[in-house]
Symmetry: C2
Subunit: 337 residues, 2 copies
DNA sequence: ATGAAAGCGCTAACAT
DNA sequence: ATGTTAGCGCTTTCAT
């Protein structure tokens, strides 16, 4: 790790110029054959690696992109990361992870990383932009792709799933099982993803002529223990539900955990549907009925879009919509009684 | 996002030199008061951010560290990441994540990132070094801290838990419940972490005078579906176990899932103990009895050690040992019959 | 096909 | 207290 040979070292050792070495090492096709091979050989032998700071400074690019999520702790993002990473690596880019924890300051920090040259572009998976005067304008033409979530009026290209449609399908599945009293544990409104899933729930309920009593739409934050708490509150209502559509699997785990503590059987007494299909959702007991998203594909699509933008392509006008699947497993059953 | 003002722009606008601006912005205490405030004000107004490539090139530091794990997909690492990140940020460092997937090429790649200046130091959480001639020597004096795992003979400082002791405690808990036929689903041997946990298992068994029949120590890889498969194999043995100590929670989930498919009750028929205490382990059904590690603390300790090394401190000779706790929950019960 | 030279934006000697 | 200058390691004109 001691000696960090530089281009000059290689050049001197071979009696050529630094420029020639640089050209040889970058496959420019401008270096003739006797020299070319010798340079490459010596470079390998000396274990040469170009200094990224110098290169980035010179080329004005970092060959890196930033993927910003609200919580790296959520395993849901990891499959997406893999899709992003595979696509990025193939194009010579590396991927940096950003974690906002829903903190506006940290969000700003990642935008700053773009400006200060840490990364060339960004894949945003947070539901909002930092709320600052003029912020939207200041980033409007940056190479940014929004995935999963939706940020309106900023003109960014989107990779999404049909949250509303998927939610409706999930709730219709419950309705098809004869449930009438169906509650919805939502994500944080007014973020669009949460609102869309809730709209899907409402649409299905309305289409079936079912009422949504007061207290049937508690608002959560996608975290396990919140699911637990909101479930408890649902069962303090005069008319508790017989089925619950939860906005993500992590909260669904909390809901089911709490139902068990309340002595209720899943799916005998209460049916539960989640959203995400985590790698644990099937091994969970009972295996969770949930909406599966093509995560790797979402990552790939977002990164490809970003690569297009980085290559100077136009920003796609209409969002890419990827399909979801309802996985019916063990947490849903016909309505009791 | 368009205009990226540089130091020169600020300098010209105020009629001072670039050096003064640089000094003012870096809190060097070398700039007098009328100038100081005006520079800062203009910098903020122009939304100035220093170009990291230029700065890193000049200072020969990236102010970034690399945290390399075998699988970002494992939620276990995320708590550690938070500890690392918090400590790093407080010291002005950012954290890059590396994911090896047990792939030797990717391991090498991350070491290369150190050499090419992407990062100044590294926290390694993979159980081995790339197997190449002279590799150990070539990285011997790099600022590297090994956490969780153990890499012998390379001289790196370590942050660890007492894997062997914790494993022994876990198995003694099972023995205390009257179990005699106790199997162990291990991690990948011969990696030291896996071997240590297995040694703890063996020590406890031997101390209690219990035999370890053929086939009672299947070797896994910490992945869910492997736990499932190995569990199936255990129950094809002539004398299946009544208790299983699994080397991590993720495989334990797979084991329990498979037990259920085999029609066996947990913990009525078979007791299971895991290792890690994932955020889902308590919400799992039955709530998983497992060994809990101080994850955030591990991250903090590792990063602090790395910061010391980066600041020119000596590499600590003896490893930091952090305490574990056995969380007895719902997957262990007295031996049947 | 190769070399010479300039310069990316910043910081740190070295002046003054 | 501030300015001048050089240079980090690389790529890329512009010459030859």
């Amino acid at each position: 790790m001691n000696e960090r040979p530089k281009i000059k070292d290689i050049a001197e050792r071979l009696g050529v110029s630094a420029a020639t070495v640089s050209r040889a090492l970058s496959d420019s096709g401008l270096v003739a054959e006797p020299t070319l091979s010798r340079i490459r050989e010596v470079a390998r032998e000396m274990n040469y690696r170009p200094n990224v700071s110098a290169r980035n400074l010179r080329t004005q690019r970092a060959m890196a992109v930033l993927m910003v999520v609200r919580d790296v702790g959520n395993p849901f993002y990891l499959e997406i990361l893999k899709g992003v990473e595979a696509t990025a690596r193939a194009a010579g880019y590396s991927v940096l992870m950003g974690n906002t924890e829903n903190d506006s300051d940290r969000e700003v920090e990642y935008f700053d990383m773009l400006r200060d040259g840490h990364a060339d572009g960004m894949i945003l998976m947070t539901g909002k932009l930092p709320a600052r005067d003029g912020f939207v304008d200041s980033v409007a033409d940056a190479p940014i792709v929004v995935a999963l979530e939706e940020i309106r009026d900023a003109g960014f290209p989107h990779v999404m799933i049909d949250n509303e449609g998927a939610a409706r399908d999930a709730v219709e599945h419950l309705i098809g099982l004869g449930h009438k009293r169906i509650a919805h544990v939502s994500g944080p409104v007014p973020e669009i993803m949460s609102v869309s899933r809730r709209n899907g729930y409402r649409a299905a309920m309305q289409a079936a002529g079912l009422a949504i009593p007061d207290g049937y739409e508690p608002v959560g934050d996608y975290l396990l223990h919140t699911g637990q708490r909101l479930c408890r509150e649902l069962f303090e209502l005069p008319q508790p539900p017989t089925a619950i559509f939860v906005a993500n699997d992590e909260m669904a785990f909390g809901v089911i955990h709490e139902l068990r503590r309340l002595g209720l059987d899943v799916p005998g007494d209460v049916s539960v549907v989640g959203f995400d299909d985590l790698f644990l959702s099937e091994a969970f007991y009972p295996p969770l009925t949930t909406v599966s998203q093509p995560r790797t594909e979402i990552g790939r699509a977002a990164m490809n879009m970003l690569l297009d933008m980085l290559a100077g392509g136009l920003t796609p006008r209409k969002p890419a919509m990827l399909p979801t699947t309802l996985k019916v497993r063990g947490t849903t059953a016909p309505a009791p009684k």
